[in-house]
Amino acid sequence: MSNQIKVEVASICQVAPTIREFTLEAIDDALYPFSPGAHVVVEMPNKKKVYKNAYSLLSDPTDTQRYRIAVRLQDASRGGSIYMHEQVKVGDQLLISPPSNLFSPLWHAKKHVMLAGGVGVTPFMSYIPEMIRRDADFELHYMYRSLQTGAYKHELSEQLGDKYFDYDSDRQTRCDVTALLSQQPLGTHIYICGPDSLIQAVEEAAQTLGLPASVIHSEEFAAPKPGMPFVAEIKSTGQQVDVSAEDSLLEALEASDISIPNLCRGGVCGQCVCTVVEGEIDHRDQYLSDEEKAAGNTIMPCVSRAAGERLVLDI
């Protein structure tokens, strides 16, 4: 994507046993201001595969000189965090996307209850300064394992006082989600960022108690799903087009001088549709119907990819 922003790693610090914080500074232009809850997608150049991971911005939204993110070291399946922890040094340059936000606080809420699990505290780091500025009623419930996570717990506890509650499962303190939800007044919105098990526990408790689903929010990322490289073969000419992990099929075709009509480049307009004669498709568009997707012979190359290593296109 062309609208990426080049940043330099200005500092790195360990904020919990398995969590590192990176401060990213603008190189060319100032950075965009952002809204609380926003995230960026960090692109990590690597020999074999480019990792793209989404991280919440935890700096003050009004600071356009630098962004801060925190990365938890995950097991090998998420190679990006290992890369961030082991390869990235102060002074390195990285590419990031502009901020996007699918986890904005609802400012008309009467009260905000934030539930953070481990590194899931990060989006709330940008909520809190704004909640304080707006004099909003809020609470932060922070669940972590002190042997691994728990970043920023001291400063949060100090800053928030009786709005701050913590639960350390390495010390056997746990959060009773049902009790917590049942105490909340009308007009409360609940925000969750943490493991799926936490999200599920809150959703179930809410349902049992009779809280509306529309007051429960969990973090979503607009990050592109990672893609694997594959080969597209053009049936009429036999030409083989390599599609790298970073490029869309449409971009790869264009780079090989094969032009496909297109408009939105985002899987909604239907212009770029192509016929597939061979190969499994990983459908990622909003345009084709479920039946068309199941039939497996049409693809929207601006967003969709091969599910396997090869696709044959009828062009």
Binding site: N3, Y32, P33, F34, S35, A38, P61, T62, S97, P98, P99, S100, N101, L102, S104, L106, W107, H108, S214, H217, A222, L263, C264, R265, G266, G267, V268, C269, G270, Q286, Y287
Partner: protein, 339 residues
């Protein structure tokens, strides 16, 4: 070369509005095919058409700038409530002011100048003789609300949509030249609600797809789409509020005057994500061209004949063309050799 703003012309009463040959040439003709159907016709708002084109810059300032600003003032003086911003949209209004000022100053440096020193901003608009210094984010330092202040200096109507729970809400806007919809009535509605009256498109899933795309839009990647209708006389303010004043003009079209009286009205709609508020800005930039002027381009005239001839009945009715649609088709037929 870009067309320079000319003297004020009118969009009401004596209707002195006219397009220069250059303005005709750069008109954003909306029909890519011989048949027109609703579709998710959205594309990245990137420059095309080269210097002077309506698509050259993020905002298009053209020869009608002074006329449109004068017309907007007439509308707002009479009906101040045509501009509204709910309380929670304050930050979005400042986002919008910043986006518009920075892009005007960058793309039209002969006309507009922005100087930023911390939160002290100085704005100069040489076309309207405006020169103000204010504190960014502090509405009390501006002569009007931020939305009204900047909105009255840029061609096009503006809406600011609040994004909540995967939907968009029409919570602020300045709508002085709508194609027949009322901000006062639609205020606060969701994407599907305010599109309620549009025929056909709901069933085809068009709004669902468009909404998914819009809610995922990122800062710095604006998109655009074109919409169109027909208007009798060069009237900018075809609002429901004033419909009782202009509705009768729809019966004034005759086979003799249709070419000069009926205008193709094109809206270049630009959507852009606002960084601080996460709101979506929606710009509706309206262009008007008489059929007579349009027909100076034979390709346009031929295409327009075909799109009008095959326009589905629900669209003819929804767009309010029933009384004179057939006269438009007959008039345009002379430019279509297939006829």
């Amino acid at each position: 070369m870009r067309v320079a703003p000319k003297e004020v012309e009118t969009f009401r009463d004596d209707f002195t509005y006219s397009n220069s040959p250059e303005a005709i040439k750069r008109f954003p003709f909306p029909f890519p095919e011989d048949e027109y159907r609703y579709s998710v016709n959205m594309e990245p708002h990137t420059p095309k058409g080269g210097e002077g084109s309506a698509y050259e810059h993020f905002l298009d300032i053209d020869e009608h700038y002074l006329s449109e600003m004068a017309e907007r003032k007439l509308v707002l003086d009479e009906m101040p409530h045509r501009c509204l911003a709910m309380e929670h949209m304050e930050l979005a209004c400042w986002d919008m002011l910043e986006r518009l000022m920075t892009s005007l100053a960058q793309d039209y440096s002969d006309y507009f100048k922005l100087t930023i020193e911390g939160d002290q901003w100085t704005w100069e608009n040489k076309l309207l003789n405006i020169h103000d210094t204010f504190t960014f984010g502090d509405s009390s330092t501006l002569p009007q609300s931020p939305l009204e202040y900047i909105g009255c200096q840029v061609q096009g109507d503006f809406a600011l949509l609040d994004q909540r729970d995967g939907d968009l809400f029409l919570d602020a806007g300045m709508i002085t030249c709508p194609a027949d919809w009322s901000l006062a009535f639609d205020a606060g509605m969701s994407f599907k609600e305010w599109h309620g009256p549009v025929p056909m498109a709901h069933n085809e899933g068009i709004f669902e797809r468009a909404l998914k795309y819009l809610t995922a839009m990122q800062v710095g990647s604006p998109i655009r789409r074109l919409n169109w209708t027909l208007t009798v006389n060069a009237r900018m303010d075809t609002s429901p509020e004033t419909y009782h004043e202009w509705g009768h003009e729809r019966t004034s079209v005759t086979p003799e005057n249709v070419g000069e009286k009926v205008y193709l009205r094109v809206e270049m709609q630009v959507m852009d994500r606002m960084p601080r508020s996460n709101a979506l800005m929606f710009i509706i930039r309206t262009y008007l061209i008489s059929l007579e002027d349009l027909a100076t381009n034979p390709e346009w005239a031929r295409r327009m004949h075909r799109t009008m001839k095959t326009l589905p009945a629900p669209l003819i009715e929804y767009k309010g063309l029933s009384r004179y649609h057939s006269m438009v088709v007959d008039y345009l037929a002379q430019f279509d050799p297939a006829n």
